[in-house]
């Protein structure tokens, strides 16, 4: 006997199910069978039933729900069918057990073989043409990639078996029994190739298809109660759509058993009317002939309720018409309740006419609210605040009474986690939100590793991909890599010139096998050699050791080498085509070689193996009909058809998709889940998140191969229709409040965006049902427009965004908002970087190197030494493509390294060879020209330097300690000092590949003074040689800075050196307490212009501006240096720089008091002594 139960709400259906189950079965140990559409429903239903079964009172706390099996309808029907045919089989619990070789996962493999064997058959001509045009294999010699197509066809055949079994039965009859229904032109051709292909597949599989089996199975089910081993009572809960073939099986089962179907139907009134329209219905009609299509009066029932309405027609077509109604009490007289009541009654809106019969509402009553936000993140924030308001207003409301449903959970999941879990940090009440329905890729990091491996296999194996892979949690765990190690790895990859490709062989796929530069292998060789030999730039067997690897890092190099080696092997193995089982094994083994789960999560590895093994074909049909060629022979030896990585990727993509699961659904916390059928179990608060135009509803299915779409029948699945039904279910499931958020404005352009069509329909329905005071529309009253920013003052103005109090709960943004309001429209004067000077740093000896760094860049030295702050982008970034041209900075670095190699007495040719081994140059011949140019410039510079009197190459480093009055001292070393064997005088030498600039002169000056103060007897002088402005390879020009001895004898030299060094140390001490307004080149230009006689040159301002903000866009200018922007707050104009006046202690002897600005006075303080003593020359 078949019993139908219907209700508009799932909790009343659950109560009805409880009443049914409360009757004890004859055998108390036999499990009840309750079929459920999703695992979430299973959990909810078990919770509901445990309040009813065996409870001392209704909804009592002491009930129990046990000994129930919960198969999906498809599994139940499939197991029934197979059991009926094989007599007395137990119902299977999982899809895989019951499913035969016809499930798409398995049928796809014989289908691939069929395609391979028969592609040239005449009836398959359109398929062959399509495959060859759309799926040609990128690899030469291989056939078309047919897997994705085969999978698509296998899915189609599966759907036909469920929804159009008659059609398949006709196909099974042979080509002569052509379809009566699909004879229309345009589809005949499709029927032809599909039926031909299906018959081939049927022959290859050799087992009757489910459609064929069903006939016989139904007969047996009707014939005998013992055909299946099922209890005398079977229930199907929460159906919103039931394919006709399933229904037939259930009807047959009902011959000897009590079968209860529990249907969610929004409107009892509509049901009654539709029941009349369906009277005398023979067979399932086409959608165009649906007798109930125009019955619905209520606009929401009409537009949103098609699935539920059609299910009634499907049932009626099988003769199931009598349904017991479980009434829902009348909803409260709120706005939401009114809408729900109208849906229950399917009442048309009051007629338009002279008299306005709509119910009057004063305004929003809080039961239905729409929030228009900017972008996704704000939607999540607004949802959180809305829920908090509801929780605050009603002490009986608990987080578990709230459900948040979202059409696209993968996009929103990270935001939900971020916004809800960090709420506590911003001063708002923290809330736990449980995310259900995430994809396994998200919940199982090991699977994510396997998926990542496959992604790598299809790519170029770039340096950043390697870095990304290494930073995956399980990979880091396997190789013991922490955050610092990854930072080190990034530096090494950049420094050893790794760009892309495992090795040269790997690059052959791109026909670049002749370029070994910048592969993982090349970089690894350098690193490993760097551990073995710490020799400076000397090639060993053609490899340049990586410099700068400390002995504490040897271990890390070893681990990195192991990681790169293993990954290389795995990637090498995955090249080319393999059978599915091999792919699965390689991915699983690869993931285990390269990653390991945490101790508590060892299940992740098992799940990985399980998921991967499910993609491999289970059975292979031994028949081989086609001609045997070499490729076919290979496939026979292998475990099935060979597929390449792209086909494997599409094979896996499906397995890694998110599915509704039981996990995290209704755990006691607030649930966040996808919008899927029967998720809409009643909750007091239902939030719909992300109802954006273009995302919701899904587009109607478009598939030119789907014969069902040619003539859709009542009850066929359709994404857009299903989404709308979900919306109707959600509307009815909200017992107290419905909160909807959508993207009402573009977050970048602030353009208004219309809500998605169903939401617009909802607003229209409200407008036709009620009227608001003041003639306002639903859009005016119900939609709250939220500001772009969380710190906008409107968030905290009482009543501005709805509730009487402020909208937001957190204090962090409140402070920000208050600051903004206080500042008002007027722009406050920029606050100084520091309110005053810092306390002096301990006055020990001054490190000469530190002093030099300070003089070269005062702001940077201050930020680093006192604040430990390094603004600006990191310099070591990996790059993923081979360098074809040297950038100017890279060219400079090459020249600088060559020059210093020669300066240190090494051979230029050896240095050039080392440069080639470094891996930073363009590959092969492309390096030749720039290298030749740079080395020519180096040679020319060496020649020029040799012509400078006193310049020589025989120089040594010297340690020094210079005593200053007052107990201060300067200590350190100067790198290159030449002592004249005849006179005994010392010369400080420096040769730089750069253009001689202010910083080189300052460095020489400080070292020169320190040398003079420490060793006055040596009567030191200093020579610095660099390139000159306008120097070309053809006409090289050098610029020389020369400091002669500071006095006629050692005493004078010491006195003057100590005095001038004292000035530098004084500036240094000041500069360690605040960022001094000294900017290296700008200050130099200013000071030089000031020292010129009046009227010479363009004047200090113009001269300084050339370095501060040059008119030539190619040069950055010091105004744009990150450190200067940090301490000045912005890119400051030179005029603004000149506004500050000298401090009280910046005057007196030694200070140029003609300088009225602080910048000028400090610049002169630094530069005047230097300029007074320096000789500059061009050569």
């Amino acid at each position: 006997m078949l019993h139908l139960h219907r209700s508009a709400r799932a909790d009343y259906l659950a109560a009805a199910l409880g009443d049914v189950l409360a009757q004890p079965p004859p055998d108390p140990l036999q499990p009840e069978v309750v079929s459920v559409p999703t695992r979430g429903v299973e959990r909810w239903l078990a919770q509901e039933l445990s309040h009813r079964l065996g409870a001392s009172s209704v909804r009592g706390p002491d009930g129990i729900c046990a000994n129930i099996t919960w198969p999906f309808p498809g599994t139940l029907v499939a197991s029934m069918t197979s059991a009926a045919l094989r007599e007395g089989h137990r119902p299977a619990r999982s899809q895989g057990d019951a499913a035969g070789p016809w499930v798409p996962d398995r049928a796809v493999w014989p289908l691939v073989q069929v395609l391979d064997d028969h592609l040239d058959d005449e009836p398959l001509a359109p398929v062959a043409a399509h495959l060859r045009a759309a799926y040609p294999s990128p690899a030469a010699g291989a056939g078309p990639r047919r897997f994705a197509f085969a999978r698509h066809v296998a899915d189609l055949f599966d759907r036909y078996a469920v929804h159009r079994p008659e059609m398949l039965l006709a196909w099974a009859g042979g080509p002569s029994s052509a379809e009566p229904e699909f004879s229309e032109p345009g589809w005949a051709a499709d029927v032809a190739w599909q039926s031909y292909l299906w018959r081939l597949l049927r022959r290859r599989i050799g087992v009757p298809s489910p459609a064929e089996e069903a006939q016989e199975a139904l007969g047996r089910l009707r014939g005998s109660p013992d055909a299946v081993d099922l209890p005398g009572r079977v229930s199907c809960f929460g159906l919103t759509r039931l394919p006709a073939s399933y229904l037939r099986a259930l009807v047959a089962l009902a011959t000897h058993r009590e079968v209860h179907l529990f249907l969610l139907h929004p409107s009892p009134a509509l049901w009654d009317r539709a029941a009349q329209a369906c009277a005398g219905l023979r067979g399932r009609p086409y959608r165009s002939d649906d007798p109930t299509a125009k019955l619905a009066q209520n606009p929401l029932c009409r537009s949103w309720g098609r699935d539920a309405r059609e299910m009634q027609v499907v049932l009626a077509a099988e003769g199931a018409v009598q349904a017991q109604l479980h009434e829902v009490p009348a909803p409260p007289a709120t706005l939401l309740g009114l809408l729900q009541a109208n849906v229950y009654r399917d009442s048309a809106p009051p007629p338009v006419g002279a008299e306005d019969a709509r119910v009057l509402f004063e305004g929003r009553d809080g039961t239905l609210t729409l929030h228009s936000c900017h972008g996704r993140a704000r939607q999540v924030e607004v949802t959180r605040e809305a829920v908090l308001h509801l929780l605050a207003a009603d002490p009986t409301l608990e987080p578990r009474d709230v459900i948040i449903m979202c059409p696209d959970i993968e996009q929103f999941a990270p935001l939900v986690t971020a916004v809800f879990e960090t709420a506590g940090e911003t001063g708002a009440p923290a809330m736990r939100a449980r995310l259900a329905d995430r994809s396994v890729r998200q919940t199982n990091p090991m699977l994510a590793v396997a998926a990542h491996l496959l992604e790598l296999a299809g790519g170029r194996a770039t340096a950043s991909q390697l870095l990304d892979f290494a930073s995956r949690e399980p990979v880091r765990r396997r190789f013991g890599l922490d955050e610092d190690d990854l930072g080190r790895l990034e530096v090494w990859l950049a420094g050893s010139g790794v760009r892309w490709g495992v090795d040269a062989t790997y690059r052959q796929a791109w026909k670049l096998g002749s370029i070994p530069d910048g592969t993982w292998r090349a970089g690894l060789d350098r690193l490993l050699l760097g551990v073995a030999m710490n020799d400076e730039d000397r090639l060993f067997a053609g490899v340049l050791p990586y410099e700068d690897i400390g002995s504490s890092e040897f271990d890390l190099v070893g681990r990195v080498a192991e990681l790169v080696n293993r990954l290389s092997c795995v990637l090498e193995g995955m090249r080319g085509r393999h059978d599915a089982a091999t792919w699965a094994a390689m991915l699983a083994d690869g993931a285990q070689l390269l990653a390991c789960p945490a101790d508590a999560d060892l299940w992740q590895t098992d799940q990985l193996r399980r998921v991967l093994s499910s993609v491999a074909p289970v059975d292979q049909a031994p028949i081989n009909e086609g001609p045997v060629d070499e490729a076919r022979l290979e496939e026979q030896q292998a475990g099935g058809p060979l597929i390449d990585w792209a086909e494997t990727a599409s094979l896996l993509a499906d397995k890694l998709q998110g599915r509704p699961t039981r996990a995290n659904f209704r755990t006691g916390d607030m649930t966040v889940c996808t919008l899927v059928p029967m998720r809409s179990v009643p909750h007091r608060v239902v939030c719909l998140l992300g109802m954006d135009d273009g995302v919701f509803p899904r587009h109607p299915a478009v598939d030119g191969d789907d014969l069902m779409l040619a003539a859709p029948m009542v009850g066929d699945r359709d994404g857009a229709g299903e989404d709308r039904q979900l919306l109707l279910d959600a509307l009815l499931a909200a017992t107290d409040h419905l909160v909807i958020t959508y993207e009402g404005r573009d977050q970048h352009l602030n353009q208004p965006k219309p809500p998605c069509v169903p939401i617009a329909e909802l607003l229209d329905a409200v407008d036709r049902t009620v009227r608001f005071a003041g003639g306002l529309t639903a859009r005016d009253v119900l939609v709250v427009e939220h500001p772009l920013q969380a710190f906008d003052a409107r968030n905290y103005q009482p009543g501005a965004l709805g509730p009487a109090g402020p909208w937001r709960f957190d204090s962090v943004n409140f402070h920000a908002a208050r600051k903004l309001v206080k500042r008002g429209a007027k722009r406050e004067r920029r606050r100084p970087f520091l309110e005053g000077r810092l306390a002096p740093s301990p006055s020990g000896p001054v490190d000469l190197a530190m002093l030099v760094r300070f003089l070269e860049h005062p702001a940077r030295a201050f930020l680093r030494a006192r604040l430990g702050y390094y603004p600006g982008p990191a310099t070591d970034r990996v790059c993923d493509s081979l360098n074809l041209e040297l950038a100017p900075l890279e060219r400079w670095a090459v020249g600088d390294r060559l020059l210093s190699a020669v300066e240190q007495g090494r051979d230029l040719d050896m240095a050039i060879a080392a440069e080639l081994g470094r891996g930073l140059l363009p590959p092969g011949p492309l390096a030749k020209r720039p290298l030749a140019e740079v080395s020519a410039a180096v040679k020319a510079l060496l020649v020029k330097a040799g012509e400078v009197p006193g310049f020589c190459t025989d120089a040594h480093a010297m340690e020094l300690a210079a005593q200053l009055p007052g107990g201060r001292s300067v200590m350190g070393s100067v790198p290159r000092v030449a002592i004249d064997p005849v006179t005994g005088r010392a010369t400080l030498l420096r040769l730089t590949y750069s253009k001689l600039a202010a910083k080189h002169r300052l460095r020489a000056w400080a070292q020169f003074l320190a040398l003079g103060a420490a060793f006055p007897d040596l009567m030191p002088s200093a020579i610095t040689v660099g390139q000159s402005e306008g120097s070309t390879p053809e006409r090289p020009r050098a610029r020389v800075s020369f400091f002669g001895p500071l006095g006629r004898d050692a005493g004078e030299v010491r006195e003057r050196s100590v005095e001038a060094l004292g000035v530098l140390v004084d500036l240094y001490d000041r500069g360690m307490r605040e960022p001094l307004p000294i900017y290296c080149a700008t200050s130099a230009a200013w000071a030089e212009a000031c020292m010129l006689p009046d009227g010479d040159g363009p004047g200090p301002k113009e001269a300084a501006r050339q370095y501060w903000q040059p008119s030539n866009e190619d040069f950055r200018g010091e105004a744009r240096e990150p450190e200067h922007m940090t301490v000045l707050g912005t890119v400051l104009e030179l005029a603004d720089l000149l506004e500050a006046l000298p401090a009280d202690d910046e005057g007196g002897p030694g200070w140029d008091e003609r300088q009225e600005t602080r910048f000028g006075r400090l610049s002169l303080r630094l530069w005047a002594p230097l300029l007074a003593h320096e000789h500059l020359a061009l050569r």
Binding site: R460, P700, P754, E885
Partner: protein, 277 residues
Amino acid sequence: MSQTRPNFDLTGPMPGPGVTVLEASAGTGKTYTLAGIVTRLLAEGTCRTGALLVVTFTRSATGELRDRVRGRLLSTYRDLEWSLATGEAPQERLARFLVGTAGDRAGVHRRWSRLSEALADFDRATITTTHGFCHMVLAALGVWGEVAHGASLLEAPEDLVREVCDDLYARWVVMNGPLPFRPGHARTVAGAAIAHPGLEVLPATGNAQLSDDVLRSRLASGARKEMDRRLLDANLLTYDALIYRLAAALEHHERGKEAVARLQERFETVLVDEFQD
């Protein structure tokens, strides 16, 4: 010229069959007229909701157009409803026209109920961008089209173009010695060739001498081929490829007819907004 073209009247005879161009300056209400045409076609029953195609150019324009068309359907629907209830003619011009030409009250009711269905069935009307349309049509063609299942769109192909070009450049230099132009120039040439797959690359590279132009031309055709190969390998499509694939499918000498028939069967009326873009 403009004298020879008639002024369009929303309440006059509807255009077609064939192609009709509506030309107007900015702000004169092209989109308004378009929404009106849709409303009239649906109300008069000339076109089914599912067989209607409206194409515009950007995604944001699509959203706005959808909202406008629905708004117009709704207001006309209400006007007709009001007219049915009161027996008076509506104020709005199109609604008044629809009431006036309906014949009797039953005719007005028929039109009203068609609009009501169109509103309930609004998702079936295709309002989309050019690229969305191409994507949809290629899917709708099934085996008669030439796009693989599961191919995804590469929205910004610039990186791939650069990669292809750099590879070709490096390969040439390593095998044959320096090229007479720099990598930046090579990228410009290859990028242009890839962006305009319909244009012929000149000069033809037979056994010609390796002049600069011939080298450039070789690079350009090589980059096109290589780009196609890599897109195929990664199962990717670019927007340009989408449009060219559709054109190729429709012009195919054997299968094109079947494909065209499919499209014609599916769409009765096509409206294109902002065609000048």
